[in-house]
Amino acid sequence: MSFIEIVLGILQGAGVTAEVTLLGLLYAVPFALVAGVLQHFSTGTSRWTITIVIEFWRSTSVLVLLYAFYYSLPAFGIELSAVSVGAMVLGMNAGAYASQSVRAALQSLDRGQCEAGLALGLDRLTVLRMIELPQALRNMIPTFVNEAIQLIKGTALVSLITLTDMTFRAKQIAQLSYDPVGIYSGLLLCYLIICYPVSLLGRYLDRSAGKAGGRINGF
């Protein structure tokens, strides 16, 4: 097989990689926003609860969680497809990391922003929605992009729970022809083509967020 044929063969798995990534984002973004905001606001027992939930998803190894959910949940009567397990575990893991940047971004805002909003007679939720989140969002975006890259790369793990993603395709091709150099260079290249532009975007956003942040705080 020529190198081109190998790469085209691997790219047949790009659909599954994209599917798991997009479904994972559906878990990651809402979870990050909700968990980060709740952790910022709550106190006492409810803060402990939300922290435990976040730490659970952050603290276990993704691969071990994938195996544990894929193989153990059916024994408790919960049958999930491999795609669901993959998207949920990878998404919640990325979301838990991103939630920390949501919380940090909210905490780093000037207190005066919130106080001014309350003094103008807005209720707390409106202050959050109209004043705090729009400003915090700019600081979160670079982290969100980085977590998205982690999510795309993480999808390589779903090949181990039987999904035919790009990594799985590469392993299949490896069984057909003995050409480890071509196959695994091709696989690295495929991930590079997908992730490198995203990481360049992330660096650009990082830089522009820094500039914009400086302008806002400096008045």
Partner: protein, 220 residues
Amino acid sequence: MDFDFAFALKIVPRVLEGVGNTILVAVLSFFGATLLGFFWEMLRRSHKVVRPVTQFAIDAIRSTPALVQIYFLFFVLPYYGIVLPALFVGVFGLSFYYSGYISEVFKAGIDAIPAGQSEAALSLGLGRFDTVLFVVAPQMLRNIAAPLGSYSIGILKSTPLLAVIAVPEMLGSALDVASDTYRYAEPMFVAGVLFLILALIAALLVAVLERRLGVLSTSH
């Protein structure tokens, strides 16, 4: 098939057999990644022609999955006649993957030191090497300790990847139990719980260590 708690408890010791290797691999990979990351960063600062090449290499390392890098090393090295024990390949793979991230830690740690520090040292007649060793490095250490701590936990959490190349670490022992007994639910559950406990202990140790060293903690 129902979940058998008695069986799950019974296999805990067998799964724990791999914990020594898990810790060994994590520690070796952490040192490997730190050394290699420092090397990347020095290369990036060395010369203006080398700089963009190194930058691209670091970005490439960061843009590809650890699993794929490990597969690459595991299957491509033997093709060129380099046959190493799986444990070494795994340690090298994890070191390589995390070195891309740790080079950024060094970059940020060095950038945070005011340029006046090294300028002053150079103008006092210290050589470039002495400047780095006695002026820049001690100040850098304080900046990098906290992020290095969180990457050390990240590395620990990545060690199960090595089960795919048959390194006998904790997930590997769990998979062995599973294939011996034809039951997957309990071994995978046990492995999940044990890894969670291990990661929490590691996080606690890193936090204690950071407080001892008086490091400004990151909110991460």
